[in-house]
Symmetry: C2
Subunit: 417 residues, 2 copies
């Protein structure tokens, strides 16, 4: 069988299983999640055996020690995956609430209710825990999954997916609620992206190249996160200590993530804040790339190039510039934004409101670190990803964003005239 046929066959089975999930109430879906957790713990020997093969292959392929560490599964990590499933089981049911309900003058009663998406395709790279937590989040929302993990973790992923599928079977759901592509041929990714007849959504979880490949080939809608050009504006007046603390947290606490700040704009009337922030960051080893005025005001800065303003460093580097007004800050933020996270630090309420309204990003903050752009920090529970698109889901994507809706209409013989 060719790769296209193999992938399609699995998608067809998952689609068929998704029909059974339409009938499954929250108790059954949660029972499946708890059964999965229990079985992961009970069958850990099987998982570790499969993982050892991946580790050996990885060593032969001379993967970096960081890659090998991400790949490794041990009892603790298996238990962590099980705990994650149990936490998802404890979330509120995303399919429970009626979203809206109204009656028409002709007596039709219309209810808008949440429903599963159907089958969600997950295309991901090395970490095998993605197999488990993606499946858990999708199943919580009544979706079947078609998984396609990276080649390094293929044995671990297949073992995990089998256990998850068996757990579905044990509680009375079809095994095909969890399907996994077992070939490591990259063509399988391309084929998956075109299965819009069976898949409602594809979530790529991995690096920029993976996301690009998926997006360029997909006829299935893709939930994507392009990059995180997080920006902060420090206004003319603000609490100085707070400004230092917020920018410090946004840059230093974890520089390698999409909500870490990359560009900083400071109002020219607030050179005190500029100098305090720069000195604090430099003391933490942050390289400052400043515009001409910043370099003149602060010692030890490198001149910023035009490209610096569009670079997501994901490192201890920050581009810093002075602006002469809130309007200039808004213009420059609009020019460089990735549409994910921006913040203003100010004690001027009117300026804060303008900023929060006019900055066109998923998450806009006033007097807060940008590092809170995260489903867990928002209290949404675990997230399956972050979206920089504006359709369907924007910002953190949790269980609720893995649903669609339908209109249920009750009548008593109404016809249209």
């Amino acid at each position: 069988m060719g790769i296209a046929d193999m992938v399609t066959e699995k998608a067809v089975k998952a689609k068929e299983a998704s029909r059974a999930l339409l009938k499954a109430d929250a108790d059954l879906r949660n029972a499946a999640l708890r059964e999965m957790a229990q079985d992961l713990r009970a069958r850990r020997a099987r998982i570790i055996r499969a993982n050892e093969i991946d580790m050996e292959n990885g060593q032969q392929k001379q993967l970096s020690s960081a890659m090998l560490d991400r790949l490794r599964l041990d009892e603790k990590r298996i238990n962590d995956m099980a705990v994650a499933l149990e936490e998802i089981a404890d979330f509120p049911d995303p399919l429970a609430a009626v979203l809206e309900e109204w009656e028409r003058p002709n007596g039709l009663r219309i209810r808008k209710v949440p429903v599963p998406l159907g089958v969600v395709g997950i295309i991901y790279e090395s970490r095998p825990n993605v197999t488990v937590d993606s499946t858990g989040l999708c199943l919580k929302a009544g979706n079947a999954v078609l998984l396609r993990g990276g080649s390094e973790a293929i044995n671990s992923n297949v073992a995990l997916a089998e256990i998850l599928a068996d757990a579905c079977h044990d509680v009375g759901l079809p095994r095909s609620c969890v399907e996994i592509v077992t070939t490591t041929d990259r063509q399988a990714v391309i084929e998956m992206c075109k299965l819009d007849r069976y898949l409602s959504l594809i979530v790529p979880r991995g690096g920029a190249e993976l996301i690009r490949t998926v997006k360029q080939n997909a006829t299935v809608p893709v939930l994507q996160h392009e990059r995180g050009m997080t920006q902060i504006y420090v206004d003319a007046t603000c609490d100085l200590d707070m400004a230092v603390s917020l920018v410090h947290n946004a840059k230093v606490q974890r520089p390698g993530v999409c909500n870490a700040v990359e560009n900083l704009y400071v109002h020219e009337a607030n050179t005190a804040a500029l100098q305090a922030i720069v000195a604090d960051l430099q003391a933490s080893g942050v390289e400052i790339r400043g515009d001409e005025r910043v370099c003149a005001l602060c010692a030890g800065c490198t001149p910023a190039t035009a490209e610096d303003w569009d670079t997501e460093y994901l490192d201890l580097i920050l581009t810093v510039g002075l602006v002469n007004s809130l309007d200039e800050a808004l213009d420059r933020i609009a020019r460089h934004t990735s549409g994910l996270t921006e913040a203003i630090i100010t004690d001027n309420e009117a300026n804060a409101e303008r900023f929060l309204k006019e900055v066109d990003s998923a998450c806009v903050y006033h007097n807060t670190s940008t590092r809170f752009t995260d489903g867990g920090q928002f209290g949404m529970g675990a997230e399956i990803g972050i979206s920089t698109d504006k359709l369907h889901a924007r910002g953190p994507v949790g269980v609720r964003e893995l649903t669609s809706y339908k209109y249920v209409i009750h009548g008593n013989g109404q016809v249209r005239s």
Copy 2:
């Protein structure tokens, strides 16, 4: 300038205008809509002059009289467009409500609020009124538009778009809230579909070929309506007169639309309903394509082929089959559905509930004609289209579905630890 550059330049201008729309409150957006209505009436001579050129060209190109009629603009039709804009101005503001609001244990206050999508691309065919009503719906939701109409109506569309853009300018909004592609080269459609840097959404309004072209080329998300394979199931027991009346309305009242029924399934225990429905439809000139048992039970039926069950006739033809159970009906509906509209006619509440839950379509009806799948009929106001996708918008797409959301977070110095 090449076509790609021309189209891109317009998209850039519209994107810039969409920033001004972020600041525009509902009063200003509604004022623009009312100004547009007024100016359409006041400048009708300009519109009619442009339309006459299109009509002459159409006659030379020997367009059908139906096409020419759709193309024609007169005082009444211009006034209808103006009235439509005034009605949109009277809708509630889709950007007014706070969608959700909560506080985190660390004191962060998170508000989820509706925001415009940005720039919406509309790609449409002959009717020039689409220029006006699409622009009206988009602007109501705070979006700029990039329009691309069919070549037959190019002069009318450009005249209309100019008047709409001028009206924006007159109330203090940028003219570029309304941009129109003035070349009739088909390459412009392809170029528009790839402008994901500037456009948030493309809405194709036209035939299947247009939608296919857009979907195959788009990197911008597309709101699509593939087809309407509307299906009805008549259960073992039901009100016989109601069944006849509902199927009649669903097939005969307007057969050429996506919510007109194409496949009918009748429970084998309800041959009385089958015969009454078939006789009624035949009396209205409907051709019945039946399975073997239907043909045996009802005179004058044609045997249905396998393809008939997947054919959207949009005509006075109906495919009819007997089923031996609700389960069989559900299976067959799942096999042939387009995911838009399905109905059950029954007096059995439990069967109705199963059907409404398990049929995976945008609009599912109990004891109602399928013809109500329509934004106006739902009380949503005018719709820009119908979506058979599950992401973002499903079913009728009105003004509210032309919005996205963002998270606005207020803090007082919170950092992440």
